[in-house]
Symmetry: C2
Subunit: 228 residues, 2 copies
Amino acid sequence: MAVTLYELQGADDRRFSPYCWRIRMALAHKGIVPETVPVRFTEKDKIAFSGQPRVPVVVDNGKTIVDSWDIAGHLEDTYPDRPTLFPGGRASARFFQEWANANLGPNISPLIILDIWKHLDPEDQVYFRESRETRLGRPLEEVSAGREERRQSLYDALAPVRGALEESPFLAGDQPAYVDYIVFGGFQWARCVSDFPLLDPGDPVHAWRRRMLESHDGLAGRAVGYPC
Amino acid sequence: MAVTLYELQGADDRRFSPYCWRIRMALAHKGIVPETVPVRFTEKDKIAFSGQPRVPVVVDNGKTIVDSWDIAGHLEDTYPDRPTLFPGGRASARFFQEWANANLGPNISPLIILDIWKHLDPEDQVYFRESRETRLGRPLEEVSAGREERRQSLYDALAPVRGALEESPFLAGDQPAYVDYIVFGGFQWARCVSDFPLLDPGDPVHAWRRRMLESHDGLAGRAVGYPC
């Protein structure tokens, strides 16, 4: 079994893409240790063979798969005898994914966007600032301003996660699964590049993040990033 | 097995509470046909024995349970040999519930609030208008104004549901379960009192609602309400 994962890389080998982390964790869940190929924002040529410009890209025994959702589905279909990524079904996991993409990412992004920029190599900094400022219509410094006050919005958005954690230690139940990796990707994204405290230590989501960092032999906790 | 369900009643015997519908469907899922006791807004004395003022209240062989989430859990614990309400686990279902309470209810409520009022008996109308206008700080007519334009907000909020329905016919998979009942409750709430079209016929959520209305021998579809 030879699996290669192309994943986003910042300065100091920070692997910070939330979508790549969903897949890093999903691979570990399936007991797969991939060869990883770092791809910086300005190194899109490395994944040109995939026919599109985004990571993660997985090559599994010669087969190329793009898009984190499709990669997760591929892993489940290809390795069905290993622990399932979807103990609650794929529809439920898709629900979590669409929720996270619409509610979690947009609430974390303004809190860490300047820190992302700070942790990129110089040529990537130029690309990142220009593309994001065009998209957002204002300087990264303005997007990032007042972030202390905006933590409340993230806290509020996490209400469904907090509810789920009243029922069990992980969103998927007694053990983590893909729904956990979906949500965790957002927090690991932040941790890799930012020391801004997204969560209060008393928040049940904080304790869950700790469990996630320790899961799969501490895979995520060992990655280059800030303590949290 | 004798189960009694106390549920909210409007004019013309419309049983419109979204939380009561979660439980009506959950009972059907477990193969239980309850005796139902209608409770109007101004008949809280009927459930005073439960020690709190909200429906649904279930009395199951002498045991009183309140709060829809606790009732669903009770049914699962008490009738474990019948089809499970939580095939994806309780944590996942809690996630759906907190999402629905924060995103679905608040987006449907302003679209139908005046229709709710119109479908109450006179003494309940007085109670409903007074309590809601106090809570919302303005007349029901104002809350309801411009609802055509506000359907987009409901459409956007349903993105996670739409994603899940790309994977399977129900949110729980091939068959409906409690996560479906949670979300469906909001639509049945509307259907019982309002002919305002919440969903476009081409929306996958529209087709899912149809399947829900037909499930359990058409239980929800037979209830007094408007076609949709």
